[in-house]
């Protein structure tokens, strides 16, 4: 029911929304919860375990009951708390965890079985038979116990992450937070004021408190106006600070109203030199029988819905509390002309006068009703039991300061007897100063003073002086409370509404010797729901303390962990979907390759063409075989720009290379290229490639595509740590040069028309390099070959890459060749026994690869000593060989194991494995590279290849790894 004349919402504008398909109306400024209450919707959900009917309990982000699913189709968002869901026109919400409907839920039968389903039930019941847990019990329990579900479709909403920086982060925009922000903002500090609510003001929005003689809300509005006019203050509404991390970093979740292309949320990482925690306090329930019936609400929430939203949570109210603050609810309700049937204050000394009955020293011992509250049962001090008709019970067990963020770095809160609550320990998070209710200060005056003081303290550390300004005038009433955690009696007294944990469960945990608060939590699941026990932790541990004969401080709290409120994974991983997952590295020939229909394969972050299909080719093998023939018989062109290229210069360039490569580069003459092998410190092979000497002190090193970054890091490590005295510098030039391999018997013919240089074997012998000019552009030419044919690699500044690739391919085609892709490149190198990271996989040594000859004995190099370990030069090791099929099955697979022909194919008998396979159109059969025990000594022997994964086996002959043109005559020309 809406109360005229109350509330801060825009009653002049109507917003239509639906809940479970029923149409309702609300107003701008409403939350879904306030709009539902205004429409007298009391039953909003079913509980997690027992499927008990539940209504709205709170008015904040701590809400355990009113979880709903928002939006339809792929936009669906489960587990939204109605209490913080901003109402907009067209909002569609549905209840959760019920079948077939909220009113008639079949699994409510669980509630009848509850005597059997208490704490530890799962642990005791589903132990046997063991295999049933994963296959039967867990899936069944998960189906029955529930939260909402995602749509299962890709998320069409946008999400965002962002960074922010400030001098002072103020968390919470209630009286303490606003005062802190004003103090710091006026002093000129860079301030971020973040509040999880859509409107600043905190409790001032929900109370009828006065500041400076006027409504507190007006003061808050004026304060925000002043703050927004300050260029050094940034106000972030709808932003919940979720975690405190090292070095002044805070996580924060901002929820945004929906709009085109607008992210629905943004996960902020805020770096603040100092912070003020003005997060307020959370009201705690009291445990009594059937305290979870829809209509039983927090007292502060009941008056909040009235004062802020003009929404009456019922028609007849009973207020039950153990502190003076609860009295405000009765007074505000009565002021608004609502019927307050009674105020029950458990304290004998309580004094309150108003147009209602006050029962001091009485307690609520139960509730009546079905899916909605109908009556409250109370017990007077003299033992008399009375039933009072009411449809809303406003309860208050006191307030818990929101200490959560102060405990995110391992600190534990301390118990403060006079307010019967935990408060932040001093210095818990460096630079974070608690203020206001979060620090256990509950009066309005106290909050304002505490906020100003905290800001001044924080600024002092930053070297900023804030002027003392007079504080606004406000009430300074003492907070009087006498602890009441549980009203003993028959029936279930609920503590953790979200996970359906009762006071009895906690006592049972203690009885079964789960006496530590951490054990009790895990045994009962108290505090393990998405509200993280915000409503139940303190009461649960107080009951545990009582059950175990300890004090509350002795019992202690469980660990507070981020995030303070649930953060969607979509927000944390924002931007990481689809193309945002990783950067795409495209070669300069990418567009031209796509135009030719080449499918792309990802090599690290690079995209490389797999093959270039031509008309009539229906299978990749046809294209690949043709491209191999082009290279072997005419000429092929491929983009090799993705290989790492490192420019190395300086007086000690040669010394560095001699140290990082196993073989010698100081003896290489300028204008020549040499193949080199690089080891890790542990003696295993790291990478290989060619390095060209361009000048006396100038080399350009080539790495494999896969290890380019690793080699760069390695060079950094070597020059900074192992050989810090070297006068040498290096720069990656991978991206500066577009480099293309031109390979085949007609390679020279292709290039000679383009370059102003003589390409004869005498002028450009195999493994030479130098500067050339191409269409007037300075280019580099390398006579190297990864195909085994006459080969050149030509490099031009990348801006010309696209143009040169098109030109080279056109010329190759006119010579009977064409572009070739990764598949053909792979076949060509397997035919030649050239290696890639399939073979240099991190567990192979130079010895395994048959390259022990490249390990110089005349100098030291990285990995030399470790590579000499006896186990690494044992002939029994699995060493590089080639294989060809000789049995009836003519194809080979990589990743298969090798066995003696008669041996059983078991792990113990494995003698090696294959790493690379290809069909060789040149030789007319499959070829493999692999590693075999004693391999080089077994050429001509037969081995059995077994691929257990693919269910495949064949007989092979061990052959030399270089299957084609073993003396290399074709490449040398």
């Amino acid at each position: 029911m809406r109360i005229d004349g109350k509330g801060l919402i825009d009653r002049g504008t109507r917003l239509g929304f639906t809940f479970d398909g029923h149409r309702y109306e609300g107003h701008p400024g409403d939350t879904l919860a306030s709009a539902l209450l205004a429409n007298d919707v009391r039953l909003v959900g079913r509980s997690f375990k027992y499927h008990r009917p539940r209504g709205i309990l709170t008015a904040g982000s701590e809400e355990p009951n009113a979880l709903v699913t928002l939006h339809d189709g792929a936009h669906r968002e489960p587990n939204a708390r109605a209490t913080v869901t901003e109402l907009f026109d067209g909002l569609a919400a549905r209840s959760q965890n019920r079948f077939p409907s909220l009113d008639w839920d079949l699994l409510a039968v669980n509630d009848l079985l509850s005597p059997f389903l208490g704490a530890g039930f799962y642990y005791k019941t589903f132990m046997w038979p063991r295999a049933f847990w994963e296959k039967l019990y867990e899936p069944a329990i998960r189906r029955a116990a529930g939260l909402g579900a995602l749509s299962g479709q890709p998320d069409p909403d946008r999400h965002e992450t962002a960074f922010a920086h400030c001098d002072l982060l103020v968390i919470g925009a209630g009286p303490a937070g606003l005062m802190a922000a004003l103090t710091a903002g006026r002093a000129g500090a860079d301030v971020i004021l973040a509040d999880e609510d859509l409107r600043p003001g905190g409790r001032l929005l929900s109370e009828t408190l006065e500041i400076d003689g006027g409504p507190g809300v007006d003061w808050a509005d004026t304060a925000v106006e002043e703050l927004e006019a300050l260029p050094n203050v940034r106000f972030m509404p709808r932003t919940a600070v979720t975690g405190a991390y090292d070095h002044g970093t805070y996580g924060a979740l901002e929820r945004l109203p929906r709009g085109p292309k607008r992210p629905v949320d943004c996960f902020w990482r805020i770096h603040a030199r100092a912070a003020v925690l003005a997060a307020g306090a959370l009201e705690r329930p009291v445990g009594f029988a059937d305290n979870d019936r829809p209509g039983v609400m927090m007292a502060g929430a009941v008056r909040g819905y009235l004062n802020r939203y003009g929404a009456a949570a019922g028609k007849a109210f009973v207020v039950f509390g153990n502190n003076d603050d609860a009295h405000r609810t009765a007074l505000d309700l009565a002021d608004a002309g609502l019927h307050v049937a009674a105020v029950i204050d458990s304290r004998h000394e309580a004094r309150l006068s108003g147009p209602f009955d006050v029962h001091a020293g009485a307690q609520v011992i139960g509730t009546r009703g079905g899916r909605a509250l109908e009556a409250v049962v109370i017990r007077h001090p003299n033992g008399r039991v009375e039933s009072i008709a009411a449809d809303c019970l406003a309860m208050s067990g006191g307030w818990n300061p929101s200490v959560h963020l102060t405990c995110h770095m391992g600190a534990r809160p301390v118990w403060q007897e006079d307010i019967a609550a935990f408060v932040p320990p001093p210095g818990a998070v460096p630079g974070l100063i608690p203020a206001g209710a979060a620090a256990g200060v509950f009066s309005t005056h106290g909050c304002l003073a505490s906020g100003a003081k905290a800001a001044r303290e924080a600024l002092e550390v930053l070297g900023i002086t804030a002027a003392h300004a007079p504080l606004p005038e406000a009430e300074d009433a003492p907070y009087a409370i006498r602890p009441l955690w549980l009203v003993e009696g028959k029936g279930r007294a609920w503590l953790d509404f979200q996970n359906d944990v009762t006071a009895k469960d906690v006592k049972q945990a203690a009885q079964e010797n789960f006496r530590s608060v951490e054990h009790m939590k895990r045994y009962t699941t108290q505090g393990m729901a998405t509200d993280q026990g915000k409503n139940s932790n303190v009461a649960a541990l107080a009951i545990l303390a009582d059950a175990t004969g300890r004090t509350i401080p002795e019992t202690g709290t469980t660990t507070f962990r981020p995030p303070y409120v649930p953060v969607p994974i979509a927000a944390m991983g924002a931007g990481g979907r689809g193309r945002g997952f990783a950067p795409e590295r495209l070669t300069t020939s990418h567009a031209a390759s796509l135009e030719r229909g080449a499918p792309m394969i990802e090599a690290g972050l690079w995209f490389r063409p797999s093959w270039f299909p031509r008309g009539g080719e229906t299978h990749w093998r046809q294209s690949c075989d043709r491209e191999v023939r082009h290279v072997r018989e005419a000429v092929g062109v491929t983009d090799v720009s993705t290989l790492g290229k490192i420019d190395i210069q300086g007086p000690d360039a040669a010394t560095l290379l001699d140290f990082v490569y196993t073989n010698t580069f100081s003896t290489l003459k300028p204008g020549r290229v040499r193949y080199g092998l690089m080891l890790r410190e542990d003696g295993f092979v790291m990478d290989d490639g060619t390095t060209a000497r361009l000048g006396e002190q100038h080399y350009v090193m080539t790495t494999t595509t896969a290890a380019a970054g690793q080699v760069m890091r390695h060079l950094d490590f070597v020059t900074q740590v192992l050989k810090p005295g070297l006068d040498v510098s290096f720069t990656s030039v991978t991206e500066h040069w577009a480099q293309f391999a031109v390979a085949g018997p007609k390679a020279r013919e292709l290039l000679s028309g383009l370059l102003d240089t003589d390409l004869s074997d005498e002028a450009w012998p195999f493994m030479s390099c130098g500067e050339v000019r191409l269409s007037g552009i300075a280019a580099r030419l390398f006579r190297i070959s990864f195909s085994g044919e006459t080969g050149f690699e030509i490099a031009v500044p990348a801006r010309y890459g696209d143009s040169l690739f098109r030109l080279l391919v056109a010329r190759a085609e006119s010579l009977g060749g064409g572009a070739y892709g990764m598949e053909a490149l792979n076949v060509l190198r397997i035919e030649k026994g050239f290696l890639t990271h399939a073979e240099l996989h991190g567990r192979t040594t130079a010895f395994d690869l048959g390259m022990e000859g490249l390990m110089s004995r005349k100098k030291d190099f990285v990995g030399r000593t470790m590579a000499a370990r006896p186990g690494l030069v044992d002939p029994e090791r699995e060493r590089l060989v080639g294989l060809k099929p000789i049995g009836p099955v003519k194809s080979l697979t990589s990743g298969a194991f090798l066995f003696e022909p008669e041996a059983e194919a078991t792990r113990e008998n494995a003698e090696g494995y294959t790493t690379s396979v290809a069909f060789s159109p040149t030789l007319g059969h499959f070829l493999a590279l692999g590693f075999l025990k004693n391999g080089p000594e077994r050429l001509g022997e037969k081995v059995r290849l077994v691929d257990h994964l693919r269910g495949y086996e064949t007989l092979c002959e061990v052959i030399h790894p270089v299957a084609f043109d073993r003396d290399g005559g074709r490449a040398r020309g």
């Binding site: 292309k261 495209l586 720069t731 991206e735 990348a798 696209d802």
Partner: protein, 181 residues
């Protein structure tokens, strides 16, 4: 003999403009990585001043405001932009042509810093990152170079091969900042 046609890294992708900022690709300029040899930093500085009127920049600094600019690039390198290096510099430092190695764009406008706040953890407040500051940092998932050229103009650089990703990340951030209204 056919002429080769030059293409810039962001050809066909930019400019992009919305109410928040403008993203565009300036005409390519010469870029040279300069790494002083051991003990030659001072001599290099003098040669730089003589040849280009530029000082060797300390960490996070840039030198020069005109066509020629020298920006700190990492522990060992400065990046000379806008002018070909004088041959005399080669005596004191390794010079490596990087003219084609980087995709270089400018982001400018009232909302430029807000757009960058979606992609880089750098503190871009005036007090921490005034005009003339430069940093190597993250741009989304890429490592890049960020320089503040004017109060609302930033120069952004990533590997040339990542130009498409750079444009995608920046235009997405621009759209989302604009959509906040």
């Amino acid at each position: 003999m056919a002429d080769l046609i030059a293409k810039t890294p962001c050809a066909g992708l930019l400019p992009f403009e919305n109410g928040v900022a403008t993203l565009w690709e300036p005409a390519p300029v010469p870029m040279t990585a300069i790494a002083p040899y051991r003990g030659r930093a001072e001599a290099l500085s003098e040669a730089l001043r003589a040849a280009h009127g530029l000082d060797w920049p300390g960490p996070g600094e840039t030198s020069g405001e005109g066509a020629a600019r020298l920006i700190w690039f990492d522990r060992a390198h400065g990046l000379l932009m806008g002018v070909a290096p004088a041959p005399a510099l080669a005596e004191h430092a390794a010079l490596t042509d990087q003219s084609d190695a980087w995709a270089l764009v400018r982001l400018e406008g009232e909302g430029a810093a807000e757009v960058l706040a979606r992609l880089t953890p750098l503190d871009l407040r005036e007090s921490e990152f005034p005009v003339g500051r430069t940093a190597r940092s993250l741009l989304g998932h890429m490592q890049g170079s960020i320089t503040r050229l004017e109060p609302r103009v930033y120069q952004l650089m990533v590997f040339r091969s990542m130009a498409g990703t750079l444009v995608h990340e920046l235009t997405t951030a621009m759209e989302q900042v604009a959509a906040r209204g």
